[in-house]
Amino acid sequence: MATRVEAGRWWRWREPGIRGHQAAAGWLFIAPVIVILGVFLLVPIAMAAWVSFSDWNGNGSPLGANAHFVGLQNYRHLLTTPGLDQNNFGTSLRNNFYYVVLVVPVQTAVSLFLAVLVNRRVKFVGFFRTAFYFPSVTSSVAITVLFLFLFSPAGVINKLLSYFGATGPSWLYDPRGFFHVILGQFGVHESSSLANGFFLGVSYWDWLAGPSIAMCVFIIMAVFTTSGTFMLLFLAALQNIDESINEAAALDGASEWRKFRHVTVPMIRPMIFTVVTLGLIGTWQIFDQIYVGTKGSPSNTTLTPAFLSFNTSFNANNWGVGAALAFILFAIIVFFTVTTRLLTRNPDRVPRRRRFGPTQGLGNPDASRVASAGSGSTP
């Protein structure tokens, strides 16, 4: 890192003249940023950490006489004490979990597909890129209002479905779990063995509910609004691929799908991991859409940890529990980010063994590996 190199020269700042000037100016230049970040990020995180260990109820200052240290009680309240709060917490985790599990793969696949399409030599490519990216620049509020309209019970989507002879659900008013609906089609209904076991205040049967029909609207909305941004990331990665590699594969008679699978995907692997990581971080934070759209209804099936944390603090004045929830959410996000990093840290390690003689001398090991794999496997 560049900063390491500079560390060896720390003594320079004491020199009179230009270096001394630089030290003063340097600190002066970054002072506003450092002060604001410190006051509005570092200090408040410490304050919230204190609140999560206290019984503060919103009256007066959390640093004053109204707050008392209660240890881990707020965390225990959410994680181990059966009750409404634990049930809400477990429900919000389940809802957000299904949201993440569906949104991240779908938005990654859709944005990659869009990027591949707009990376081709087609007419009006600028128009298509603009069309796909536009939802990404609009505000979450405007998009949510739009989706409330599209997915209203007698709205645009259900009208479209009726042209195909289908009757749409009441969407945002439908709390039924998607998996439950499918299981119900096969005659599987709530069984007592699953209904009596509980985890985080939610029965096993309810853990298996899948996203509610209402949550599916938010899932579609997330894919709609984020695929444009990720399309641009993938597009940048695709444009970095050396055209000669694609040509070599084409010469060898590789089909479009084979080229995509064995040339394109391996070469943009790092970007796929970036998009998945960004997706994981973003999807665990869904708040605006819930606040504007449903506030957790119907039957808490669109409740998310972020919204629950907000609601517990600002509306129920249970600040200790709300803050504890925020930190648990933080831990979840850190866990997923670190796990993805660890899983993808060395994507080159396994293929290294597969590489052979002539390609080893080339500058870009990934490129050479792909080229050889592409030509070697064509029939």
Binding site: R4, R12, W13, I18, Q22, A25, G26, W27, I30, P32, V33, L37, F40, V43, P44, I45, A48, V51, L114, L117, R120, G126, F127, F128, T130, A131, F132, Y133, F134, V137, T138, S139, V141, I143, T144, V145, L146, F149, L150, S152, A154, G155, V156, L160, L232, A236, E247, W284, Q285, F287, V292, A306, S309, F310, F314, W319, A323, A326, L329, F330
Partner: protein, 288 residues
Amino acid sequence: MSSSSARLDASAVRRRRVGRVVTYSFLIALAIVYIFPFVIAVITSFKTEPNATASPLGLVPHPVTTSAFHQLYVGQDFLLWVKNSLIVTLSVTFLRVFLDSLAGYALARLRFRGRGAAFATIVAVMAVPGVVLLIPKFLIIRQLGIYDTYYGMIIPLLVDAAGVFIMKNFFESIPVSVEESARIDGASLFRIYWSIVLPMARPALVTLFILSFQGSWNELAHFIISAQSTSLNTLTKGVAQLASGQLGSGNRYPLKLAASTLMTIPVAILFFIFQRRIMNASAGAVKE
């Protein structure tokens, strides 16, 4: 590409033509999916409420009316929301571009003790998810006595670590020689920054300007936790309250969609003006 295609046989040519048709079909179908919701939103905002409810898919309002827009002006504090959004967004955007570029320049160019630590702090801050900070930010804003004021809405948004990061990377990518000759001529560091470095950094500044404007114009969560008076409602907050309003007075879809159409216009204009830059930030930086 042409040299290789010349060698392809007739079946390959046919396959290519089929591929072309498939590509265009996908592109057009998807473009409709992505654009249609916005088209229908604009159309619906010119409908009457019974018309919007009865035929949500109708592409021609019957009758055409601007009553939704009139209602926003008369029945809602829409102009107040616009004013508040403008005050907050413009303050945040200009100050953020200035402060982030100042810090980015110092981190890229100036040699001083603690620079590494300062940069590490900024990167660490970047990793903290925003939603987790709602309660902490509310606590400090109240503690500082700026709750329910413009200050509380603006100051916490003034710097973002990502902006500092963008500027630092940009300054590291441009040659240092011009600044050095100015330095030898005895110009002060701030003068060098203001009259030499900033003009050179225009592409990066524009990128940061767009990101900041879009970010603060579309911001909702921070305004929810930093103010409660209706007189401080921004567009996002106002329209959000409109959206979750009482069901007793009808669904009011034309009104809500008119509001969300209007609030999208400034960002859309910015988007279309700087489209090329947004779409291809790196190429744009090289061009200018």
